[in-house]
């Protein structure tokens, strides 16, 4: 019985960590695509850059987790800035194709350059140590949760700042934003750097949890899964992408058939969302927020 309990809680914690990593990814893509309005179909590339940076620093250079994971965020942010430059000149569908290309290139680099372990990937990446022992999985989950809460607070802060306002204006109309004194290039780069570095951080956490990474974890399919979560939950909203990541992340875990038909189900869900709730679950005009508002205001009307 106790053994069974450990099994269940072990499985549960695996789901929790997977979901929170996805939530972090969806949250980071939401900065680029939701806040600044720049579509990206290659976000998993930065997730991968973070994971590989952390893995190589840890296994190859012998850096501890506490150094390799922050560096993963830094490297992903720098690469995000570099790869963001070609993205600054293109818009909409061209941007979608450019970012998709970036995703393929990065995956190919991991796959074909021996330094990155090729198709075999990189193994031997352990959970971090603290107090002279290896961190347990629940502790690791709490660590990621705390970091994620800090990131949400940062997002909230930025949302109320001139940076957030400048992003909104770029999302609405770049040329008009320029005419209002918004340095569009600078603020776009800022969104790419921040979004990429958070994805890189998620990659670092993910690598140390999986202990073994392969290029396939960071391919085009993964980029689409992240985008699905953002759109499903409500693009541009603060909690939507997180909710989307929780729902779409947990679904395949609770039932085997869903896992097998995962792409099909995601696709159908997305089609249904686009038809009936284009703003996502938590979009301004969607049913869920309307119900919540109704519940919130009903008592005051009665009283």
């Amino acid at each position: 019985m106790p053994y069974g309990f450990v099994m269940i809680s072990g499985y549960l914690i695996t789901i929790l960590i997977t979901v929170i990593v996805y939530a972090m990814l969806a949250h980071s893509l939401n900065i680029i695509t939701g806040h600044a309005g720049q579509i990206s179909l290659g976000h998993a590339a930065f997730f991968g850059i973070g994971a590989y940076t952390s893995a190589l620093l840890y296994t190859g250079a012998g850096f501890p987790f506490w150094v390799s994971v922050p560096l993963a965020a830094v490297v992903a942010g720098i690469v995000g800035a570099l790869l963001g430059i070609p993205c600054l000149r293109v818009r909409d569908d061209f941007l979608a194709i450019t970012t998709m290309g970036i995703g393929f290139v990065v995956e190919a680099v991991f796959l074909y350059i021996p330094f990155f372990g090729g198709a075999m990937g990189i193994g031997g990446i352990n959970l971090p140590g603290w107090f002279g022992r290896e961190m347990s999985k629940p502790e690791y989950f709490l660590l990621i949760l705390i970091v994620f809460i800090l990131l949400i607070l940062l997002d909230r802060r930025l949302g109320r700042s001139w940076i957030g306002l400048a992003w909104s204006s770029i999302r609405e109309d770049e040329q008009a934003a320029e005419a209002m004194g918004v340095d569009v290039v600078r603020f776009k780069v800022m969104a790419f750097v921040l979004g990429s570095s958070i994805a890189g951080l998620a990659g670092g956490f993910y690598a140390h949890f999986l202990t073994f990474i392969m290029p396939q974890n960071f391919g085009f399919g993964q980029s689409i899964v992240i985008l699905c979560m953002v759109v499903f939950g409500g693009i541009g909203t603060r909690w939507g992408p997180i909710l989307g990541a929780i729902i779409l992340g947990v679904l395949p875990e609770i039932s085997r058939p869903i896992m097998e038909y995962r792409t099909l189900i995601y696709g159908l869900l997305l089609l249904a969302m686009m038809r009936f709730q284009p703003g996502g679950l938590l979009g301004e005009e969607s049913i869920l927020p309307k119900i919540l508002r109704w519940i919130q205001y009903r008592p005051s009307e009665q009283g």
Partner: protein, 255 residues
Amino acid sequence: MALLEIDGLSKEFDGLRALDQVSFATEVGEILGVIGPNGAGKTTLFNLISGIYPATAGEVVFQGRSILGMKSHQISRLGIGRTFQIVRPFQNLDVEMNILVAYGHRFYPDLWNSMGHFRKNEILKEVQGYIERTGLQSYRKQLTKNLPLGIKKRVEIARALALKPRLLLLDEPSGGLRFEESGQLMDLIRTVRDQGISVLLIEHNMQVVMDLCKRIVVLDHGSKIAEGSPEAIRSNPQVIEAYLGKSLRPEEEEG
């Protein structure tokens, strides 16, 4: 002293001369009209002044400083605000946020400043000032996509004013407006001028131009064909020709 001096300004699009050697200057505190038939190069002129695309040749000097080659956001920060011929408010932001975007021009250049909170009381109070100046009180919290055209045009002017401009470029402010709306907008443009902001006005509605401007520049096929008072422009044969075409040979005219 001239606020804006344009000298020999030209623009070619793939060999097509959209603007050819145009020169004129605006004085401080005046409303200068820019008229001309469709395709004369009026909007091209605005897009060159506001830095949306680079000029092929010529010079643009604002307050004694060349602004040619500067980016659009730098030019707007220097004090040139503009509106668009086809309105471009930030559709999914409310009127207040639209104005705030422009108000933020002084915070954007510095990373630390741009991390600052924009919903501060003193800032919102100043924004309220722009809302009142442009008569948008009852629309403050409405998304601009839901507003009628006349109000959207006011939002664009309010937004441009929040840049604290010395010069406003208004691209056909009365276009598509009903008679009363257009009259109200003219009053607004006059009050803006009275506050010491110069206006460069593209307009198709001759009534509006003749009423508002003491001086008018006429463009046709990318060249300046006339400049002067409304009376002089009205009786200028070249201007009449540009608008109405050359008079036909006498026998055809009779027939």
